[in-house]
């Protein structure tokens, strides 16, 4: 049975217009929270630019929803730039977003570490700086599935992106300077590690068929969020073993001190039921307890996805008082909301 031969059915009108139509839907669903610039494919905080506040801009290819558009709002992003599915946006969009959210205190670009995202954001920062705007960039690269990253494009930015946007956004809301807000994002990235596993592939609206071919008893271990194959293929195993495959490389790299506290983030890649994500979270907390690591904060759900891919990623963030307080600070976005 060739999975790649299958057609993945989707609710679309035209592959070319999926992203703008979805953006129009976001605008219609969340008036008062965000506004959408359809020409530049931007989701903007409704009241942007916020005078005197550091502006936070992120973005990337589409297909990872709710990232980034669903994370725009009070206490998180000021703007999200949407590219085509799995394709980084262009510098013009990012520069337009930077202009739109600059409140006079500078703008932070939160960039996932993919060649396309990095190069386009770099060009955008140059454009904005040429116009006299102050821009800082933080590149997120938390995916420990990428090895010998020195000789490659480096680790991918995955789950830590959501955490960095939340915590840096909270710092900006509290009136932090551009340096302080960027510092929080860098700290989150340094103290986070992630690992992902796919049970199925996914299909872009343009192609309509799964990107890779996976047997009925196979899983891809070490995948990112673009439907790309992972580091290796394994036989399907019980959830507790799969969680072990994910936690081991994370803990090996993060080396949390015994008795230390982490934020445990179990993220669905899009097609895995919440029932299973909670089962996975249960395994994560059990196995962390065995390692003497306590779960201080947690997040379970679909936040950084790969279209309809069945699978999950685990992200651990080593917490301290500052990060814990920033996590608990109010946030008001379509996908993450509390305290307001």
């Amino acid at each position: 049975m060739s999975v790649a031969a299958q057609v993945v059915k989707k609710f679309i009108n035209d592959p070319e217009t999926v992203v703008p139509e979805a953006l129009a839907g976001i605008a219609a669903a969340h008036p008062g929270l965000v506004r959408v610039d359809l020409e530049n494919q931007l989701v903007l905080r409704a009241d942007a630019p916020v005078r005197g506040k550091v502006g936070l801009v992120s973005g990337g290819g589409s297909g990872h929803e709710p990232l980034h558009g669903g994370l725009v709002g009070v206490g998180m992003l000021d703007a999200a730039c949407a590219g085509a599915v799995f394709t980084s946006p262009v510098p013009d969009q990012m520069a337009a977003a930077t202009r739109a959210v600059d409140g006079g205190a500078g703008v932070l670009h939160i960039v996932k570490n993919y060649t396309g995202d990095v190069l386009n954001f770099r060009m955008a920062a140059e454009l904005a700086e040429d116009e006299g705007l102050r821009v800082e960039s933080v590149v997120i690269d938390d995916d420990v599935a990428v090895q010998d990253s020195l000789y490659t494009a480096g680790r991918r930015g995955v789950g830590a992106t959501v955490l960095a946007e939340k915590l840096a956004g909270a710092r900006a809301e509290q009136g932090g300077t551009l340096a302080e807000v960027a510092g929080v994002a860098r700290k989150v990235n340094e103290q986070s590690r992630s690992f992902g596993v796919a049970l199925t592939s996914c299909a872009t609206p343009a192609s309509g068929t799964p990107i890779f071919d996976l047997g009925p008893d196979e899983i891809e271990v070490g995948v990112g969020i673009h439907g790309e194959p992972g580091r290796r293929r394994e036989k399907l195993a019980p959830a507790n073993e799969i969680v072990g495959m994910m936690l081991d490389p994370i803990l090996e790299d993060l080396k949390p001190a015994g008795g230390s506290s982490v934020l445990a983030f179990v993220n669905g890649l899009g097609g895995t039921p919440l029932l299973e994500l909670y089962l996975v979270f249960n395994e994560v907390s059990k196995q962390l307890a065995e390692q003497g690591v306590s779960v201080g904060r947690s997040l379970v759900g679909n936040y950084i996805t790969s279209l309809e891919m069945a699978g999950a990623s685990i992200t651990l963030l080593a917490l301290d008082d500052e990060l814990t307080a920033l996590w608990d600070a109010p946030v008001k976005t379509a996908a993450l909301r509390w305290g307001v």
Partner: protein
């Protein structure tokens, strides 16, 4: 020299190979290279119709490069955009382009890609098709070869470089995440690069 003609040939050739390029990218990337490049060169073709005929070749290339940057996204957008802009700058204001000017422009293009993307030959990227093409064009021209001969040498070198990416282990771009698993697949960016060099040959060789 008909830069516009070159860009039209690129647009047609890439659109024709769109699905093939996307398939190659599906194997070691994220299955969007075909649509990325097609979208970009279609926009270039459109944009160039707005320039008046007298625009010097260098300016046309700069416009084409800016258009790619503004419409492609992904890794290939900034890289190809930079390549064409650097080539354009190398040509400056001159109304005509002789073979050695063209060699300089192509060299500037590859340098731009390497400067921005930090890929070395052998990293399994577009550079592996572009560098040999540029080098062989230069040496043919220095040896006093006909333009047409130099161009077909460049096309042959690009295609050879493209095929040479198959056994390579990717060290740059998405394919690098696959490690060993990237071996045995032809790099999509090297493939579109070969199409672009071949388009250059077609657009110039039948100028006379």
């Amino acid at each position: 020299m008909q830069v516009t003609r070159w860009m039209q040939e690129c647009s047609a050739a890439i659109a024709e190979q769109k699905d093939y390029l996307t398939q190659l990218d599906a194997a070691i990337g994220d299955a969007d290279h075909g649509s990325n490049m097609t979208r970009g060169f279609a926009a270039v073709e459109q944009k160039l119709t707005e320039l008046d005929g007298g625009t010097p070749p260098g300016k046309v290339l700069i416009t084409a490069g800016q258009t790619l940057v503004s419409t492609v996204g992904g890794a290939s957008g900034p890289l190809w955009g930079t390549a064409l802009r650097r080539a354009g700058r190398a040509l400056g204001e001159s109304e005509t382009v002789d073979p050695s000017q063209l060699a300089d422009a192509l060299a500037a293009a590859v340098e731009g890609v390497i400067e921005l993307g930090a890929a070395q030959p052998g990293d399994k990227t577009m550079v592996d098709a572009l560098q040999p093409a540029v080098d062989s064009f230069r040496s043919q021209v220095d040896a006093g070869a006909e333009l047409a001969a130099a161009l077909s040498a460049a096309t042959a070198a690009a295609e050879e470089g493209m095929r040479a990416t198959v056994p390579m282990l990717a060290r740059k771009g998405r394919a690098s995440y696959l490690g060993e698993r990237s071996i045995g697949h032809q790099d999509p960016g090297a493939t579109s690069a070969a199409l672009i060099v071949a388009a250059l040959e077609r657009s110039l060789s039948d100028e006379r």
